[in-house]
Amino acid sequence: MTFLRRQLPLLITFVTGILFAVQYYVPHPLSEQMLTSVSKWLQIIGGFALVLGVTSLFHIHAVKIRRRESGWGYSVVLYAAIVATMAAGFGYSPAAGQWINGKETIKGAMTAFGWVYAYMMVPLQGTMFAILAFFIASAAYRSFRARSREAAVLLIAAVIVMLGRVPLGEHLIPISGDITQWILNVLNASVRRAILIGISLGAVALSLKIIFGVERAYLGGGKE
């Protein structure tokens, strides 16, 4: 039984890992066929993974409602919103004369589901992230201090880029646009390249550790 619980998953990881790493170098039609099929399978399994995320969210708020914790009324609002959106998505549209089936428009006309998306989800998500503009301004005022030489360099580079990327800045100080281009294309590119190479080497090392069973944290779940 321990083989099934402990060794089998590691064996599966090893075999699949080696198989698909080698597949990249084998252009034979069978190898390509395997890649096509398995990438299709990954798409389907990816869909199931979404279910996992949603279920844990349900659980958190269900507990809140059951225990009548402070703010449980908002959890009811959350559930109501989920149910209403699902009803709009799976419901029937009398105007179009067919089931909505998760479509935002049917023959060019907006459905109830499309309405919820366009007039609720889009403005809500958009505004949630738009308020960050205010916080970045407040942070710039409170904490963007040139405490050291390096911080001063960071501050000056940020000011040059902020000037060079707006029409008013390029109009008042034309050279700021050119310096910004140089900073982005040469200095910034070199740093990001070094970071990219470093991270990629780390990612490859981690992938190899996973394939060879040295790194097992991804397994999780259940007793050994």
Binding site: T36, Q43, K103, Y117, V122, A137, M162
Partner: protein, 279 residues
């Protein structure tokens, strides 16, 4: 408390109000300063211009409503350009929350350009898996998307005639707001299937894509709302991106002013504390 200390601890809501006004006033009373086009945006435009009529252009709208202000104008400008050049447009998304928005923008611009679904363009919709979708499309487009977003079988679509996989696509542009975006299209797509790849992205991830731009892995990069404004200037149709540039100027100058003031007050406090320490 000294003046400097008081200034550094003012209610942050005053700063919020300042930013709000700096954004609102230029939007209501625009000035319309000239916008210089950067080489990386021009590169995307020039490549699109060089594509002959009937070339296959794939636009992947890999963003959600949170990034709409930056990437939606880029999508509109690119689609207008593609339809004007009579390219065969395939649109899709790798981000689930962006599906409705992607469908809306493609349908709207197509309608405006008098293009027909199925014949001039196709919207494939969303499929889970990110990198798996790209690999699937690179192996066999019809296995990845057996139907388009309106449940029409893709094998029957006139716009996809002769397109078996990503190898038959002439230009792919990914408008990305984060991971599962341009890098994914390169690593799992262009690396093996050898199509030309361009990118549009939010300002947050733009600096991180310059290594790929410099090495030629992507042939151009449209960065943020400013990039969208530059593209609108190039196609000769100024729209919401250009309209937002004055507000962008005002807010940037406001932030620079705040950063300078912060440092002026900070150094003033530091020197006065040093003087007190010496006495």
């Amino acid at each position: 408390m000294t003046v400097a200390e008081r200034m550094l601890s003012i209610d942050r809501r005053i700063i919020f109000l300042m930013i709000g006004l700096c954004t609102l006033i230029p939007l209501l009373y625009p000035v319309g300063l000239a916008i210089k086009v950067s080489p990386e945006v021009r590169a995307v435009y020039d490549y699109m211009e060089s594509l002959p009529e009937g070339s296959v252009f794939l636009l992947s709208l890999d963003f959600d409503p949170a990034s709409k202000p930056e990437l939606y104008p880029q999508a509109v400008a690119l689609l207008r350009h593609a339809f004007k050049k009579n390219l065969r447009v395939i649109a899709m998304t790798l981000w689930l929350p962006g599906t409705g928005m992607a469908d809306e923008v493609v349908s709207r611009v197509a309608r405006e350009s008098e293009k027909t679904a199925g014949r001039d363009y196709a919207f494939l919709g969303w499929s889970p898996g990110g990198s798996s979708v790209i690999i699937n499309m690179g192996q066999d487009l019809y296995k990845a998307f057996p139907t388009d977003y309106n449940n029409q079988p893709t094998k029957d679509l006139e716009v996809l005639r002769g397109v078996q996989s990503l190898r038959d696509v002439n230009y792919v542009v990914s408008l990305a707001a984060g991971t599962t975006g341009i890098e994914t299209w390169y690593v799992f797509g262009k690396d093996k299937y050898k199509f030309e790849l361009g990118g549009g992205c939010t300002g947050v991830i733009a600096p991180g894509l310059y290594p790929l731009l410099r090495s030629g892995q992507i042939n151009g990069l449209i960065g943020g709302l400013r990039g969208a404004a530059e593209y609108e200037v190039l196609i000769g149709r100024k729209d919401i991106a250009v309209a937002g540039m004055d507000a962008q100027s005002a807010t940037h100058f406001a932030i620079i002013l705040l950063a300078i003031l912060c440092n002026v007050f900070y150094f003033s406090i530091r020197t006065s504390r040093k003087a007190v320490g010496q006495n």
